[in-house]
Structure formats: C-alpha cells, structure tokens
C-alpha cells in the first residue's frame, strides 16, 4: 500500500540520487568512477573518531569527521600516485582498505559501550527517514529530505559556477593549467563535493545508493549522448527514475519469492542497473541492438569524382 511514508522515501531517494549523479558525471569523465566506493568505505574512521571524541551520535561532528576522512582519502591517493608512481586504482585501493580497517578496529574497540554497528553505517536505512522529521512552518519534513536537498542545491551552485572550468579540466587538464585554471584546485573541489555528498547521503540513506548513483546514471548517460550538458540532464533523469522504480520494486519484488520485505537502497541500485541495461541495448547510436539493425553505411568510392563538397 502506498502511504505518505512511501512518498517521502521516494522524494528523499530522488534528491539523493540527483545530488550524487551530478558530481558522478565528472568522476566518470575523469576515470575516477571508483572514488565514490573508496570514499564511502574510507569515512568509517572519521565517523568512529568523531563518535569517540564527542561521545554522541550527533550528526554535525559525525558529518565533519566523515567529510574530513573522505577528503583525506582523495589526498592520500594523490600523494601515493605522485610520490610513489603508483597506478591510481592501486593507490585508491590501498588507502581506502587501510582507512576502513582502522575504522573497523576503532569501532570494535569501542563496541563495549556503544551501539555503532558497521553494518548500519554501510546499509543506511532509507525506510526510516520519514520517522525523523523537522517541523518547517506547518509541515513536518524528514530531516533526510532537507539534508539531501541542501546537498543537491550546493552541488548545483558549485557546478553552475565552475561549469566551464570543470568541463575544461575534465577533458584536457593540461590545457586548463596553461589557461590558468588550476586543475589541481578543481580536482580537490570536486573531491570535496563528492566527499560531502557521499557523507550526507550516507548518513541519511546508506552508502549503496551513493556508490550506485555516482557511477551508474552517468554511465547510462554516456551511452546516450556525447555532450556534457545533455549528459548531466540524462544522468539526473536516470537517477530520478531509478529512485522511483527502485522503491516500487522494493514493495513488489519480495512478494514474488514469498519474502516479506527488502531494502529500498539495494533495489534502487538494481533499478539503476536495469535502466543502464536498457540504454546499453537500445541507445540510438551506441546501443548493441540498434547498431545491429542500422543499415550498413554506403561505401564511399575514393576514385569517383562526385565530391559533395565541391558540388
């Protein structure tokens, strides 16, 4: 049965999905698709330390700790790449597994007197978001909606302000540098956006949506267009669609197998995968089905003199 709960869950899911998909486009273009996964694991020690220092699960210190840990992941990865001549993937892997291990140890050490389950950090609970509301005028709005809406707004503002710079430095960092736009600064700005987005979404809806939405909708968009602005729009559209379809799936699918329920986060990731599958098959110019059915191009005879340019 569809209730106002479900409406809020879908709204929160959509806000979070679009907030992730926008910076995700630039991650994908910069061959850093795995950064979201790395950051979402690596924030664990940040959360644990913030908790151990403040002793509460208040969200502001947790948020700061996690965002800091996320930025450190990007920073350490860059250092290991630069100073050690290590491949980006390997550097990222070492940094995030090490930070995650530190986080696990801290949490286990503190586990005697706290309820900080690594599982709950990783999975989040989008289903519970409507319970935690903030009164805003006459309405009770879920805190998660405000948080993710705020992050979405921040992402929109930063990406609009630096659109041309991000575009240039994503496609040609050297040219950006010679024209005086520091690609290093833009890199860290993007990393900050990703870290903040990841952590905000993480804390409210769980990390799976974040990891999936950073990669899959942009990848879908990349199959449908060759231009940046349409890519951002298509990615946002695919993200919204995935949020709606995913939550519907979470309500319907378990019944098919005789189970009671499942988590919307996982189903939203699955839905985004199915949307990608559709684009993969049916994209007008890149889909594998469409390519098969397209007429073979008329071969050009290089010896004939009927050159259309001079006609």
């Amino acid at each position: 049965m569809w209730t106002s709960f479900d409406t809020w869950i879908v709204i929160v899911g959509m806000l979070c999905a679009v907030a992730c998909a926008l910076p995700g486009c630039f991650l994908v273009l910069r061959k850093m698709s795995m950064m979201g996964d790395a950051i979402s694991h690596a924030v664990l020690p940040g959360l644990a330390i913030a908790f151990l220092v403040t002793g509460t699960r208040a969200s502001v210190p947790m948020f700061l700790g996690a965002a800091l840990a996320g930025l450190l992941t990007a920073l350490f990865t860059q250092w290991i790449m630069r100073f050690g001549n290590v491949d980006r993937g390997a550097a990222m892997g070492i940094v995030f597994t090490t930070l995650f291990a530190i986080g696990l140890l801290l949490i286990r050490r503190a586990a005697d007197h706290v309820d900080l389950d690594p599982g709950c950090v990783l999975y989040g609970a989008i289903e519970l978001t409507p319970l935690d509301t903030v009164a805003l005028g006459r309405f009770d709005i879920p805190r998660a909606a405000l948080v993710n809406g705020g992050v979405l707004l921040a992402n929109l503002i930063v990406l609009t302000l630096f659109y041309k710079e991000f575009k240039l430095s994503s496609f040609d960092p050297d040219l950006a540098d010679t024209l005086g736009y520091s690609s290093q600064f833009l890199h860290y700005l993007l990393m900050t956006l990703v870290a903040v987005t990841t952590v905000a979404a993480f804390e409210s809806v769980g990390s799976i949506i974040v990891i999936a939405m950073l990669v899959v909708p942009p990848a879908t968009a990349l199959l449908l267009t060759h231009r940046l602005l349409p890519m951002l729009l298509i990615a946002s559209g695919a993200a919204i669609l995935a949020a709606v379809a995913g939550h519907l799936g979470a309500l319907v699918v378990p019944g098919w197998f005789g189970f009671e329920s499942t988590t919307s986060s996982g189903m939203i990731a699955l839905a985004s995968g199915l949307i990608f599958l559709l684009a993969w098959l049916f994209s007008p110019d890149q889909g594998i089905v469409m390519r098969r059915f397209r007429a073979a191009p008329v071969p050009i005879d290089p010896l004939s003199n009927t050159n259309t340019d001079t006609a």
Partner: protein
Amino acid sequence: MPGLSEILEVLLLQNYNTRLVVLSTTLLGVAAGLVGSFLLLRKRSLMGDALSHATLPGIAIAFGVMVALGGEGKSLPALLLGATLSGVAGIATMLIIRHTTRLRDDVAMGFVLSVFFGVGVASLRMVQNLPNAAGLESFIYGKAASVVMSDFLLIALVAGVASLVCLIFLKEFLVLCFDDGYAAAQGWPTLFLDVLLLGLVTAVTVIGLQSVGLILVIAFLITPPTAARFWTDRLLPMLLISAVIGGVSGWLGASLSALTPQLPAGAVIVLVAAALFLVSMLFAPVRGVLPRLLNQAALRRKEDRQHFLRAAYEILEDQAGDAPVANRSFPYEALLPKRSWTPRQLRQILRVARREDHLEPTPPGRLRLSEPGFGEAARVTRNHRLWESYLIQYADVAPSHVDRDADMVEHILGAELVRELEAKLGGTLPGQTVPPSPHSSGER
C-alpha cells in the same frame, strides 16, 4: 598482555587453536600476493574490489535456495559456490561492457560493484528472516577465528593451485600484462589468458571472503604487489617479494589478532600489509621515495659542480687568449654571468667546491681553482666539447643550439662513452688536450 611464550607459541604455530587460522591467512596472503601482482601490472587493481562486492548476491541467493530446498542453508561449499558463480557473472558483465561500449574499465568496475552489491544487500535483507540466517553478514567483515579443518583444506588447495598456475603461466601472463596487443599479434590466446587470470582472482577472493571478509580481501590483492613493485623492476622477483609480503601480513596479522581479544583479524592483517607498504614506498632502494630523492639531490650536486668547473675553465681560456690555458685567479664577477644562476645559488655552489678542495683560499672577490680542481675542470670541459662535436658531426645539431643539447646529457657521460667519443672524433683530438669550443662563444 600475553606473555612472551604465548606470543611465540602463536607465531610458531604451536598453538592448536590458532594454528589453522594463522596458516590459512598466510597461504591466502601468498596466493593473493601472486595473483594480485598481475592485476596491478594490468592496471586493474580495483577489479578485486568490484569482484568481491559482486560475490554478495551469490551468497545470499545460495542461502535462500538451500533453505528452499530444505537444507540447513549455511553449508560453506554451497555458499562459496554461489559466491563464485555471481563473481563470475560480475566479471562477465565487466568484460562485456568493456568490449561492447565506449565505457572504460573504471566505469565497468564501478557499475558491476554498485549494482551487484545493491542486489546482494537487497537479497540479503530478503533472506535474513529465514531461520538460521544470522551470521551471513560475517562474510562482509570476515571471521578468521572460525576456520575449521575442512575450511583450511579448501583454502590450502585453492591457494596452492592458484599459486601454481601463476608460476606455470608466468611467461604468458608477463606478455599479457606488459603488451596485450603484441601478445595478441603473436598469436597468444589473450582472451583465454585474461579469463584465466580473472578466474584465479575470483578463486582467491572467494576463499578470502570467509576469513578476512569481502572488503578486506581487496587489500590482500592490492597492497602486497604495490609494495613489492617498489623493490624491483623485474617480474619474477616482484612476484616473490609480493608473495612474501602477503604471507607475512597474513601470518603476523592473524597472530596479533589471535593474541588480543577484540581485534578482528581482517583489519589487523590489512594494517600490517599497509605498514609494509609504507616502509616499501619510503625506503625501498630501487623505486622508494627517499632513495629516489637522495639520488636526485646527488645528481643535482654533480651537475652544479660540473657547471661551475666548466664556467671557470672558460673564463681561464678567455684570459689566456691564444696562449695555453693556465690556472690563474679570476674575479668572482666574471663567474656570475656565465650561467643563469642566482648569487645565492652560486654562493652555495662555491661553498661545496671549497669543501671538495676544488678551490684554493683566495682574497674576497677573487677565485682560484686548486690543482685537482683545474684538472677536473679541464676534463669536464673536454667531455662537453667532445659531446658537442659529436652532436654537430653525427646528429646534425646546429652549432648555435649544440651547447644546450650537450648540457642536458653530458653529466651522465660514463668513461666508456667518453672513450667511444674519442675514438669517433679521434683524428682531431690528440691526447688529453681540451679541444677548442666547436661553436663561437657568442652563439652560446
């Protein structure tokens, strides 16, 4: 705190309770170190990351199916079979995306990771209300302490076979990793080799799931090979070092965690491996950061010294005119415009030259080379000019540009190369004399 004897007992595998755990993580580390090396060289380190996440739906679905068939559900072989199957499906998806779209490796990995993990979590949530489902999530974080004899035999078998295959296919994997296009052109079955390699990664990941967990097995595949890469530029030594680092991390990490309550083995193993990585990155003699910085600093000092000596020799030449060059004192002011060095850099260079006895004590404002310094200056200038003549005669470099070109390479001319240059240009350059500059000084 555990006593020394207790520590030794665990480390030396004397303790029955921990022996299997420590042995199995050690073997796992060795196998992962070998397999991971090829992944690293193929720039696919994060493949292990995507793969290990992709095993989760298999575990959950295998459990669900087992229960539906009336089984007990948590039989390890069945769960690992499910994990293997969904891992293989993940890899197949990755390869298909890679080959049929313009998306690159990282996107394909990110896609498989997130979608499969999403499905895994969704199906785990579905089956978690079934009886006996508690503990399935231990696959995410690992539970080394629960290794029993049959698990150990499985891990030993898979790790042994994976290591053996790596060594048997050493040459093939080498070609694949360094130049897959060349390998394909030479007629190697690159697709088969790629699939074989990924199959080994899957096998190691799946047996690592149970003891270190699906997130930390990633570190086993990435950290030891990356650390080993700092120690050598050759494949076989790299494989061996990587296997040793992996094995030592598994052995020390599992022992430490066995000795201390509350320390999960997976996390400790990862931290030991990370510590070994850090040491390798900073101090390894071949590619480590500190040795490289020291080398660079030494080279820079050598360049500075040679620049200074040649500048001094050229000043002496100008002073001598047509007479033979003699070692006399010259003014400091003549030195400064010779190269684009700042007064501060020059003072530093002179300080080093005094320390190396290339300069004699002189009144302020004047400089005078010592006897060894003068000889060295003549030698350096001679090498520079030999190289210039060679470039002009054999490489068709214009005389007006040759000074700069020679400048870039002359500092690493070995004695061997100098003899070769002498032989080539022999007729024109008798004995140890310094030839005149092959270009006019105005053109410098």
